[in-house]
């Protein structure tokens, strides 16, 4: 019997191969207390230096999962039973508001230094950067000073040549649409109808396409965020940006603490880090973004925020109306499509 077992063992060993040697490098992995998982919709050049610096300063290993804002928020919602993410980093605050059930409020360590207009009433989210909506135009096709305001978009000269992304796809486009409504004022449906008419049944399907379309001259003007526009201008595109005279919005993007997350303490450290002066200075230095702190100035070539005319934009109220507004827009925009 023993002999049989020995032979069987020997054969099994022959045929399957003996156990692999122990893996020494697994000992290099951090323990649970030094881990953090971040879902981010930021571009790599934005999240990477922040995450790397955070790791170096805290000794916490960060796992980054990237994706679109809505995709990641959906994922967090679907994982609410067993959250994988600790922090949602990025996304307009209206989007974060729309998923408020998934997050818990956290008042970050340096909250006192945050500008009041960028703070959530209940600190559900922590602002990261201020992103005014701007209009852009192709400097070869449109003269400087020709476009100055939202209502200028209704000019027949631009009809059908406005780069505007479907607001149901792009959060910044949605913010742009709401800003337009506030800035133009009057009856909302009437304004939407006029804008849909000006678009002449054309919407783009990604927010990045706005810049390319205007830079290439396919479109004359476009609606986008200040940061994106400045980045393209800095990289050499012959476009110019306009802060609309009839008002713009400056909705921040932000970060939020996931409800029931596994590494809550580390997540809080990360939220603190995103608004610390060093990180906020990085926004100005590297990303053409505006800080949400009151002690970090904007870049010298950016107009100060208080010099801009701003519309009254309540992120929470807008978020609550989001679906209704998108449906109205889809109805009006789609209705115009029919001959």
């Amino acid at each position: 019997m023993k002999a049989h077992r020995a032979i069987a063992l020997f054969l099994a060993c022959c045929l399957t191969g003996c156990a692999a040697p122990a893996e020494p490098s697994s000992g290099y992995a951090p323990d649970e207390g030094r881990r953090l998982t971040i879902y981010t919709s930021h571009k790599e050049e934005v999240y990477r230096p922040i995450v790397r610096e955070f790791e170096a300063r805290t000794g916490i290993w960060v796992t980054v999962v990237t994706g679109g804002t809505n995709e990641l928020l959906e994922r967090i919602a679907s994982e609410s039973g067993a959250p994988q993410a600790d922090v949602m980093f990025g996304g307009g605050v209206e989007s974060l508001e729309a998923y408020r059930e998934q997050f818990v409020p956290y008042t970050c360590a340096e909250a006192a230094h945050l500008q009041a207009q960028f703070r959530a009433e209940d600190d559900l989210w922590t602002p990261f950067s201020a992103l005014p909506v701007v209009l852009i135009y192709n400097r070869k096709l449109v003269g400087d000073g020709e476009l100055t305001s939202w209502s200028g978009l209704f000019d027949d000269a631009y009809r059908g040549r406005i780069a505007f992304t479907d607001p149901s796809i792009s959060g910044s486009s949605f913010t742009g649409l709401v800003t337009l409504l506030k800035a133009v004022g009057g009856d909302e449906e009437e304004t939407l109808r006029r804008f849909a008419d000006a678009l002449d049944a054309r919407q783009l399907d990604s927010s990045g396409a706005v810049l390319s379309s205007v830079a290439e001259g396919t479109d004359l003007v476009g609606v986008t965020l200040e940061e994106t526009a400045r980045q393209r201008i800095a990289s050499g595109d012959d476009i110019a940006l306009v802060y609309p005279s009839d008002g713009t919005s400056c909705v921040p993007d932000g970060s939020a603490l996931v409800r029931g997350c596994a590494h809550e303490e580390n997540a809080k450290l990360f939220l603190d880090f995103t608004v610390c002066a060093d990180a906020q200075r990085l926004l100005r230095r590297s990303f053409y973004r505006r800080s949400v702190r009151d002690d970090v100035d904007s870049a010298e070539d950016m107009p100060r925020l208080d010099e801009l005319s701003l519309v009254d934009y309540d992120a929470r109220a807008v978020s609550a109306r989001r679906d209704a507004l998108l449906m109205t827009w889809a109805f009006i925009f789609g209705g115009e499509e029919e001959p």
Binding site: G17, A20, S26, Y28, P30, A56, V62, A277, D278, S286
Partner: protein
Amino acid sequence: MKRSFRARLFAAFLLVSLIPLLISSALMLQVFRLRMTGTTEREAQNYLDNALSAMNDAADGFLAVRDALRESAVLRDALTGGAVGSTRVYDELYRATEGLRGYASFDIYDADGAFRWSTQSLPRVASLPTDWGALHAAAETDAAAIPFFPCEEADAGTLLRGAAALRSDSGDIAGYLVIQMDAGHFRALFSGRYGAQNDLLLLSPYWHGIYATEAGLADTLAPQLRERLMSGAVLNIADDPFLYTAARQESTGFYLVLRQPEVLTQSTMRMLYTVTATSALICVLISILMGFSYSQQISEPIRRLEQAFSRLERNELDVRVANGRETDELSRLGAEFNDMVEALSRNQEALLENQRELDEAQIRMLQAQLNPHFLGNTLDTMKWISKINKVPQVATMSADLADILRFGISPDELVPLRREAEILERYIEIQKIRLSDGFSFTLDLPPELEDCLVPKMILQPLAENAILHGLEGVENGAVEVAAEADGETLRIRVADNGRGFPAELTGAYREQEGLARGHLGLYNVDTILRKYYGEGSGLYLENVGAGGAAVTAVLPLRREEEEEC
């Protein structure tokens, strides 16, 4: 039965060939793999130790540079606004970095992060943030080690940046020593220390890729390795054709990962599997062939033997088993079968021969019994006639007797019926003389039956029986002899008009007490007929209606052959 035998042979061949083959293949593969893996692991450790020692040397060198520059009054003065010529600063810088400039560029930045002096001809970055990355870390801590940071892509080729704060006499930060390494520096540092087939990957303390000896690997491989590490999996996974070994450099906390090609690559394994599979296939083919051939060698002789036995059962004694040149057990069995059949057929022939000889001897003996009997009677009669009457009939009888004697001693056993009838007439002539014409004799022999062959001297005993027993005490006795053919059967009837047979004797002749003694002639004739022609031939006795008896000899109708008797 035959098929299953063949299948079992095949299975046995397959087992004895395939199992050792598979076991030895698997063993060889394992031994091979273990040896190779062991070698690879030792090799990896050697290379990593080698590369680590290069890193340690560099790190020690950098510390020495930092300490030398911290001690440098010239540099301190220059940074704190003293009137020091830049040549003196460069002199200090170059002296401190002697021997290390191939591994890094050494730059001096002021307290605000603005570039001042460098060992490189071109400054990489005109200013560095003091609130971020290396300079921030350097300001935060004056630790024993120099903090190194991976650089962002924007930083024009610099992969790694370390910084150390240089302090003024008052303890304030006067400037920074910035040590920057690019791909060329790493190439110089690791050159020849990781093996030609291998690649070396430098990872940050948090496993972000910094540099790899193969271009692009730091960006593609590092995230994968980090994911494996974070998910708790081992670095070496099944689908990856490489082996990874990691080691940590203690003073910087950076990791080195050596990537080696898998010992047994997919293609090597495929080749080994192919060889094994081909060998196995050959084994299967050989087993099939051997199984077929051996089962053929066994089943074919058995089949032949089986056929031979069934022919033997049908009494075909000429059957033989064909045997090839083989001298195996089955061939010997076949040969023994042949010997047995031969012996059997010899035995049977001998038996038949014996039987025939016996029969012939018996016939000769019977015939020899007849002749002296008749001869004696005739001679008695002749003697009596010649004594009493002195009559010429003696001559006749003598002549007849002479004929009969000649006929009787002739060697032929079968004679034509014509001859038999002639001899019968001689005999009747003698008996008529003997009995003084006491009876009449008629012979009815159809000409077409004259040449029928019958055993010699069968009619005389029948006639004698009729004359001596049938006509005893009968006046005008008559003996009639008639032959007739009935199909293939010849009937010769000898009838008299005497008193007939006792009723119990009629029918086929049966050997009986009394009858045999009184009718020895009938017994002999019947015996001769049956011995010659077998059952069906013989004598039949009957009584004829108006008195008198008839004896019929029944025998096959055979014609005389070409030659005359």
